[in-house]
Symmetry: C3
Subunit: 264 residues, 3 copies
Amino acid sequence: MKRQITQNLKLLRAKKPLVMNITNFVVMNNTANALLALGGSPMMIHAKTEVEQALKLADSLVVNIGTVDEYWAESMIIATKKAQKIGVPWVLDPIGAGISDFRNDILQELIANKPTVIRGNASEIFALNSFSTVAQKGMDSTMNSEQVIDVAQEIYRQTGAIVCISGEKDYIVGRQLVEVNNGSPMMTTVTGLGCSATAIIGGFLGIKKDVFIEAISGVSIFSLAGEMAAKKARGPGNLQSSLYDKLYLINESNIAQHLAITVH
Amino acid sequence: MKRQITQNLKLLRAKKPLVMNITNFVVMNNTANALLALGGSPMMIHAKTEVEQALKLADSLVVNIGTVDEYWAESMIIATKKAQKIGVPWVLDPIGAGISDFRNDILQELIANKPTVIRGNASEIFALNSFSTVAQKGMDSTMNSEQVIDVAQEIYRQTGAIVCISGEKDYIVGRQLVEVNNGSPMMTTVTGLGCSATAIIGGFLGIKKDVFIEAISGVSIFSLAGEMAAKKARGPGNLQSSLYDKLYLINESNIAQHLAITVH
Amino acid sequence: MKRQITQNLKLLRAKKPLVMNITNFVVMNNTANALLALGGSPMMIHAKTEVEQALKLADSLVVNIGTVDEYWAESMIIATKKAQKIGVPWVLDPIGAGISDFRNDILQELIANKPTVIRGNASEIFALNSFSTVAQKGMDSTMNSEQVIDVAQEIYRQTGAIVCISGEKDYIVGRQLVEVNNGSPMMTTVTGLGCSATAIIGGFLGIKKDVFIEAISGVSIFSLAGEMAAKKARGPGNLQSSLYDKLYLINESNIAQHLAITVH
């Protein structure tokens, strides 16, 4: 598995996939920077008039509902319908799933357009299962990743989407169950690192070989880079800045020595 | 007073209040990070369809008109009306008060929904008094905090809102007049640090004990963290990054030794 | 030329021009910070109801179509029409020119409102010539600056706009052809540094003396500050943060010793 991830990292840096992002205002800058630092080419576009034409240029699509409103929801639905039609792989970040009927309805429509991958925290993945409002603490998870593995497997069976659960341990649920045990608790003190993980998965989807391995590569590389950045970070400001440096520098030897990945 | 502020800092970190923010595009990332670094849980939401339902989850609300337009103004009015109705404390950042009729009209409507706290620079507080366009230099103040203490006291008498004036010296105007003499001139070279102060006040309002002490806590902790960050900063980029680290690390001993607070 | 640029830097810092920005979500924070760090006073405003009144306060205007949609396009058109009418100098950043008909149409309308300066990468400047969709790789250039000097000269002749081409070498095309040979390849790994260059040009336009020298000053100061920041940067995160520090600190002696500028 480490060999395949390393191979994907090299492919991504060689190809520099063009990743279209319809994402939220909080993380737009950060996710563009995360993609650039790793070696991708981000494009942040949301005008309803433009998304379909722009998508034709893209190798993959990232959709993130963090600060969604009625207009942005329409853009996301137009773009994901087109992505499904023309075969652009896409990843969905269902931030805040379960906190409102508005958000649940949008997610239901988006998932009908067949995301290639879904990445969220445990509470979000849990909420996706029923599309109903659940006890949430805003954008933060109140559950552990382990608790929703079976929910994720059910989503995978029903929709075909690979499901990535972020948390103290990360899980990638698809044709196998994969566990990544990297990252750092300090990562929860920086906003939008989950969104950056989603963007990085989107970057790997631009390779267009094997979406399961690409999802695993995205989760692995991001968690490991975060762990490397947190190790010497004085606090969350320093961690955010250092994370881009690590995404820029991360290499085969880091993966070989420090990636803690298990295929169950 | 220092004992109460220290107590509030501990309460905030223990409770991790959920702070809903309808704020501006420039600072959305920064204010979310400031809240997270200190120990709060930010939620950035603005869809008209969603704000009322989301507000029910929140411990407090931050409204900031920096990049307001017609849609966002409606969201802010819906949310603050609801906040008033269901008793969610909220803080208003009237950025750019006085630079246009559009902005003044919105502020008039928002203040009718009874903000718990208003925080602005001296020019903004001055403009709030008349809701008329005044000589402004964009978003920067052309007056000193001292010059508008009486205006702030008048706003407090008329609206019941605690008024925080940011500047070289900060003042908190409520049942008493409190002065905070921390911070650093370099803080004016980073965008949106006033907005971050407002968000931090919003974080403390989530404690829901004594709004006056919470407003004082927000101003004090933010100005002191800024001063600590600026002390070793090479420039504004380094200051911004280091500020999050200081908000993450600030503690009882920093407050005891360095907070320069006076109750007049 | 170096003497004039140094003089402009001093003028900008003394005057602190108020620079209105209708810009994109990705870089709003960064370009405000770049302007503040250098010594300007940024104001980010886009409400259709407000842009004309706000523009009366401004010394210059920056228009950047990065994340433009239908609403923002209208704001930009209203504001630039007004700028042309009341004589506020303005700079256009045509990000993504050529990637969609939507974007090309907006650019055509904007250029009819007579930008003082246009700054883009080589692919964008090339696309401006025909307002047709061209082979693009998203937001990144697929051409070298040298290849589009004649296109830039044609745009200058037809519209009167000074054209700045960013790339490994930067060119400023106006009554003369000026080349700036600073910067660093690492700058392409941080999002929106082109946008920041545009904002800095906007800052210099606020001086309102000689727009050609102001455009040259903006390109020169930004590329040199970027080079200074990149020299010691461990990666893109560190570079972004350090760039603000360099914009804050850059001085006469840096210009004299390290600015690599040629008037052809």
